[in-house]
Each structure stands twice: as structure tokens, then as C-alpha cells.
């Protein structure tokens, strides 16, 4: 039973063995693992508890209920939208349930170049397997693919490109197609449904609507958290002081970095907040004679990996899958306005849409703005921008191979190709910031792990190099981009490192 901070009366002083910040994949997994070991766990979540009844499938309402800054969070130059969860269950409540393991090449590179020990493919294999069992992960059978995904699969086969069905953590899916607005049918086997109830069964306490301001520490040891309960509109109310000798940051690569920055942690080598990766993505639409109705069915069930490999210095760093948005999202992504824009919106049901996401080398930084919100700085490097252009061309080829009459690249000004047009004419700089809508749903790597304190913030156990008892267990840990949707990686790292946290409190 989640306590709702919005109903807390008066200032509170709470105690726990372990205080966890954030209830998404990492926080919920850590809570479950630690509570199971007998630790007194207190988990604080900034966002609200959203019931199934409140999952109305309406964009405006659900963006406000589920997303940070109502879905409008962006890099400081407004070039890239950065979506993240703000509710009990975090981003696992509104993600698309894709389950992919961290590529072994990435894990090996972390060991070789980032001094990450104990996280090799062999170390993590049983952890991935256990997480997948816990979350009921399975391959989505072709009979459940919607038309958008069928078209992608058909095209990949026609072009002879590598592609395959993906795995999901959903059971009893109704195929309504509203995954990114939360599932009113409770089909997602996510942090809120699977892990938090388990943690609570073992005695963990979960409180929503509480924003953690800083980690309390004495320069050597973590002592707890300072937080504020929020009212229903997100305005601060009562003070919440948590006394806990062990603290876990699990509020995402953006949220955890903000709490860390506010906490004035020792940062002798200037690493804190640096190394942000975003996996920026672009969308490309194909117009079909048939009604595709991509807004229905499971949004992403097939991937094309022809343009993605994880070799060092790879020239193929683009992951392609399907994507679709409900009307507001689609209207905002489509370029232009007025009559031209309406003409394309009238074709909404006939559009198939693919997305190209780059396994990025660009590196950004998360700091704190004057009003306490994150300051996300990220400049897309030329090489990554060219990879996105490569991805856009690949999406165009796939859409035409699937039978598209026209392909729309939503740049400004827009590029509309017919079957007779040369795809190679799409320029290398088509994906430069502010000229096309760039979206990130996978911020990673602001409190990186590694044995070398000169190049990382936390050690390979997830514990801060300078502050004993302060752990980071979320995607902030990752030293580089991972090139695939990260939820399974985040669950797995939290599960893998939780025993180190337990050991710190003698469990």
C-alpha cells in the first residue's frame, strides 16, 4: 500500500536502514531485493500514485500524471525532448515494454576501458535471466503484431536486412495501443505492478509525492535524506527528514544527478553529472494506400538491426523500430502548420512510422537550474548527427520497400519523397538540432561507475567513491550509451548491485 505524501500532515522524521530515491526500474528492484534480505527500506517517489482508473488514455491528462514536466522536459537549448517518468513505477509505467539485454560487446568494453569489474556478460547472464523471469518477459508472437510492425518486418525481409521480433514484459495485453499513456488493463509487468508490491510484502514502505532535495552526509558517510512532501499540484508542503545510514539514488540519469548535485557531494575530479547519453531518435513517416491504423495494437514488436553493430569504431550505430503517437504527439512531430499540416494529419490513419535511434557518442551534462529543475546540456556531435541521417535514409528505404507511396522526413523544411526520388538525396545534415524533432527516452550515464575515481563517480559496487553508504543503482551508472532500450539493463544492474548495498548494512 503506497502512502501518498500529499496527505502527510506536518513535518516528518522517518528512519530506515536504507532510503531509496525513485520508484522506477532501479528503485523498485533495489527495494524488493533489500526488503527481501530483511532491511528496513523506505522508498520515496516524487510523482503521484496513478491508479488504473486514472489511466484515461488521453494525452493531456496522462502526460501530466505520468511524465516529468508534463512531457515537456528538454535539453536547455530545447533541441531534444527528454522524456522521463514521474509517478509510482517511474518510466516503466509508460514505456513500451521492450526488453533487451545490455549488448555483451558493451559490457566487455566497459571492463576494458572504464575499469568496470564484476559486470561481464558471464556475471550478468544469470541476473538477466532472473529479471526476465520476474517480469514475465517473452517474445511477442507475430499474431500480435500490428500493421505498422508487419510492414517493418515485411520490408526488412524484402531488403534482406537483419531484423527480429522483440521481447516484452506484458501479460494479458489488450492491444489497445496506449502503452505510452499507461495501461488501464494492467498488462505491463512493470516496477509498479511486480516489484513494489513484492517489496511491500517484505516490509518496505513506499511514499509517493515526496521530492528528495539532497542526500544528508558529513563528507564521509551518508546520513539520510532531506525531502519535501508535495501537494496534488506538485507544490512543496511538509518537510520530510529521513535518517538512514545507507542511501540509494535510483531516480534516473537526470533525477539522480540533480539530487547528487544539490547534495554538494565531494567531486574531486569533476565527474558528477558528466557523461550524459541520450539515445536521441528521429521519426520517419510513410504514407500508405491502406489504412495502417498504427495507433492500435502493440506499438513496437519488431526491430531492424541491419544498421547497428557494437564493434569498436562501428560506422553502424542506428537501431530502427516502429513508433507511433496519438494525435497531439503526431501533430507536434509533423513539420509545418496550417493547410499543409492538416493535409498530413488527415492521412493519420494511413501513416506507418519508423524511428531511428542512435547509439550515441555525444556526451552531455546534467546540472541544476536556479529553480531546482535539471539543466540538461547536450550537443549532438556531427558523427552522431550523420548516423541519424543514415538511419533516416534506412527508414525511408524500409518504408518504400513496404509499399509506401510517399515518405515524409519531418525536418524543417520538410522532405517529402515519392518512389521516384533518390533517397540518397537526404542530406547528411538533415538531423541537426532544431531542424528536426529529436526525442530521448533513455537518458543514461551521469554518475558513472568504474574503479578509477578520476573517471567515475561510483565504484563497481555502485557505492560513491568518497561517501560511504551512498549508492547509485540506476542508468546513471552506465559509462557509455548501450544502444538498446535500457529497462532490462537498469533492472539487472540494480539487482546485481543490491547485495553490495545489503552488505553495507550487514544483511
Amino acid at each position: 500500500m503506497v502512502d501518498q505524501g500529499r496527505y502527510l500532515e506536518g513535518d516528518r522524521r522517518l528512519t530506515a536502514d536504507v532510503a531509496i530515491v525513485g520508484s522506477g526500474a532501479a528503485g523498485a528492484m533495489a527495494a524488493s531485493e533489500l526488503a527481501r534480505r530483511g532491511a528496513r527500506v523506505l522508498l520515496l517517489e516524487e510523482g503521484p500514485l496513478v491508479s488504473l482508473r486514472q489511466m484515461t488514455q488521453r494525452e493531456g491528462e496522462m502526460r501530466a500524471r505520468l511524465y516529468q514536466e508534463r512531457g515537456a522536459r528538454a535539453t536547455i537549448d530545447l533541441a531534444i525532448r527528454v522524456l522521463g517518468g514521474r509517478n509510482v513505477g517511474g518510466s516503466t509505467v509508460h514505456n513500451l515494454d521492450l526488453c533487451k539485454r545490455t549488448p555483451p560487446e558493451i559490457l566487455e568494453r566497459w571492463a576494458r576501458y572504464h575499469q568496470v569489474a564484476g559486470c561481464s556478460p558471464r556475471d550478468l547472464e544469470p541476473v538477466f535471466a532472473a529479471v526476465e523471469r520476474q517480469l514475465s518477459v517473452s517474445e511477442v508472437p507475430p499474431r500480435e503484431w500490428n500493421r505498422n510492425n508487419q510492414l517493418l518486418a515485411t520490408a526488412a525481409v524484402a531488403l534482406g536486412w537483419r531484423g527480429n521480433p522483440v521481447h516484452h514484459n506484458r501479460v494479458g495485453c489488450q492491444g489497445s495501443g496506449f502503452c505510452e499513456l499507461g495501461c488501464p488493463f494492467d498488462a505491463k509487468q512493470n516496477a509498479a505492478k511486480v516489484l513494489l508490491p513484492e517489496a511491500e510484502r517484505f516490509g518496505a514502505r513506499v511514499i509517493s509525492d515526496v521530492r528528495v532535495q539532497r542526500v544528508v552526509h558529513d563528507g564521509q558517510r551518508a546520513r539520510g535524506l532531506d525531502a519535501r512532501a508535495l501537494d496534488a499540484s506538485g507544490q512543496p508542503r511538509a518537510q520530510v527528514r529521513v535518517e538512514a545510514g545507507t542511501v540509494v539514488l535510483a531516480g534516473s540519469a537526470v533525477g539522480s544527478a540533480v539530487v547528487a548535485a544539490n547534495s554538494r557531494l565531494p567531486d574531486p575530479h569533476g565527474q558528477l553529472g558528466h557523461g550524459l547519453r541520450l539515445h536521441p531518435g528521429v521519426a520517419v513517416a510513410g504514407l500508405f494506400k491502406e489504412a495502417v491504423e498504427a495507433y492500435r495494437g502493440i506499438p513496437q514488436t519488431y526491430e531492424c538491426t541491419e544498421w547497428l553493430d557494437f564493434a569498436e569504431d562501428s560506422a553502424r550505430r542506428v537501431w530502427i523500430t516502429t513508433v507511433f503517437a496519438h494525435p497531439v504527439g503526431a501533430a507536434v512531430l509533423l513539420p509545418g502548420f496550417g493547410e499543409w499540416h492538416r493535409r498530413w494529419m488527415r492521412r493519420y490513419a494511413h501513416l506507418a512510422v519508423l524511428t531511428a535511434m542512435v547509439h550515441d557518442h555525444s556526451s552531455g551534462h546534467v546540472g541544476v537550474r536556479e529553480d531546482g529543475r535539471p539543466r540538461i546540456r547536450y550537443q549532438l556531435e556531427l558523427d552522431d548527427s550523420r548516423q541519424l541521417a543514415l538511419g533516416i535514409r534506412a527508414c525511408a528505404r524500409l518504408l518504400f520497400a513496404a509499399g509506401a507511396l510517399e515518405v515524409l522526413v519531418p525536418s524543417t523544411p520538410p522532405i517529402v519523397l515519392t518512389r521516384a526520388d533518390p533517397i540518397d538525396a537526404i542530406p547528411d545534415d538533415v538531423a541537426r538540432p532544431h531542424h528536426i524533432a529529436l526525442t530521448s527516452v533513455h537518458p543514461l550515464g551521469t554518475l558513472r561507475m568504474g574503479d578509477d575515481p578520476h573517471r567515475s563517480v561510483v565504484g563497481c559496487s555502485g557505492e560513491h567513491h568518497q561517501i560511504e553508504g551512498l549508492f547509485v543503482l540506476d542508468g546513471s551508472l552506465f559509462p557509455t550509451s548501450i544502444g538498446v532500450p535500457p529497462q532490462i539493463s537498469i533492472y539487472a544492474f540494480a539487482k546485481h548491485l543490491a547485495p553490495h548495498v545489503a552488505a553495507r548494512i550487514g544483511r
Binding site: 488514455q57 508534463r70 537549448d77 507536434v332 502548420f337 496550417g338 493547410e339 492538416r342 494529419m345 493519420y348
Partner: protein, 168 residues
């Protein structure tokens, strides 16, 4: 004969700049009329700001029709103060600065539809990224105003949510 000393020059210049500033401020915010029924509903916008957003929004959603100004006022009032300041600056830019991008000296709200479209396109395609981003903010709010309404969905072939609305 009055000597133009350095001190006098600075004093007169200060008075002159102040007068020009006051005149500009008056010019920026006067000559606008909003119906009382609408003005009483505004929580964030000054009447002139409402008219600018309403005019720009009308061109963005054209030929559909929706009150973007009122929607934007209600939506944006919930933003953090820093963002509200940015929005305010953006509205001022659209009304008084952006027409210059197309060689026009009138206010945006005084232009005809075709000229307003040209101005909006100039913002949308401006070489400065933050200006383009400003256009995207306007556009996002305008399309939220339009496509969050059930009545807009049949025209695009979108059947809407599967759960009944009373669930909210």
C-alpha cells in the same frame, strides 16, 4: 546660452531613453481589445498577449478552428516562473519583432492571414535554434488545444480512447 556639459548630456540622454522606453512599453501593450467575457478568464496572459497567441494559434491550426489563446493561458499558467518569462518574451517577439523578419513594420496581430503565415514560417525556419524552438512551443500548444478535443478526431480517422471518459 545653455552649455551642453557632459553631465547635462548624460541626464538628458537618460530622460530621453526613459521616455522612449515608456513610449515603447505603451505602444507594445495598448490598442488591443479583448471581450470582457474572455478577459475575465485569463490567468496568465495580459489581453494583448492573449490576442497574439490566439492569432498565431489560429494560423497554426488553420483551417481548423479552436481558441488557442484561452487554452494556452490555462495550460501555461502551470509552468515554472522561468518558463513563463520565456513564453512572455516569445509572445513579445512574435508580435513586435518577428514581422521584421519579413520586412514588415506592423504588429503581427495587425497583419493579414497570408502575411502572418509568412512571419510564422520565418520563425519556424529561422537560423537561430532557439527562435525555431520558440515556434515549436507555440505549435505544440496550438495542436494540444486542437487535438485534445474529441471533436477533432473523426476528421483524422482516430477513434479515441478505449476506456470511457467518465473513468477520469
Amino acid at each position: 546660452m545653455l552649455q551642453l556639459t557632459r553631465r547635462r548630456f548624460v541626464a538628458w540622454a537618460a530622460v530621453g531613453v526613459g521616455a522612449v522606453g515608456a513610449g515603447l512599453a505603451t505602444w507594445r501593450t495598448h490598442g488591443y481589445h479583448v471581450e470582457a467575457a474572455i478577459a475575465t478568464q485569463l490567468r496568465l496572459f495580459a489581453p494583448w498577449q492573449y490576442l497574439v497567441v490566439q492569432a498565431a494559434g489560429a494560423r497554426i491550426v488553420h483551417p481548423e478552428s479552436v481558441n488557442v489563446g484561452l487554452f494556452a493561458d490555462a495550460y501555461l499558467v502551470g509552468l515554472p516562473a522561468a518558463d513563463r518569462r520565456d513564453v512572455s518574451a516569445l509572445i513579445g517577439f512574435v508580435e513586435h519583432g518577428a514581422p521584421l523578419l519579413t520586412g514588415r513594420f506592423e504588429r503581427f496581430t495587425a497583419l493579414d492571414s497570408a502575411a502572418q503565415d509568412e512571419v510564422l514560417q520565418a520563425i519556424e525556419r529561422h537560423r537561430v535554434g532557439r527562435v525555431r524552438a520558440g515556434f515549436n512551443v507555440l505549435k505544440a500548444v496550438a495542436f494540444m488545444a486542437l487535438y485534445e478535443q474529441d471533436s477533432s478526431w473523426p476528421a483524422i480517422g482516430y477513434p479515441g480512447p478505449l476506456v470511457p471518459q467518465e473513468a477520469s
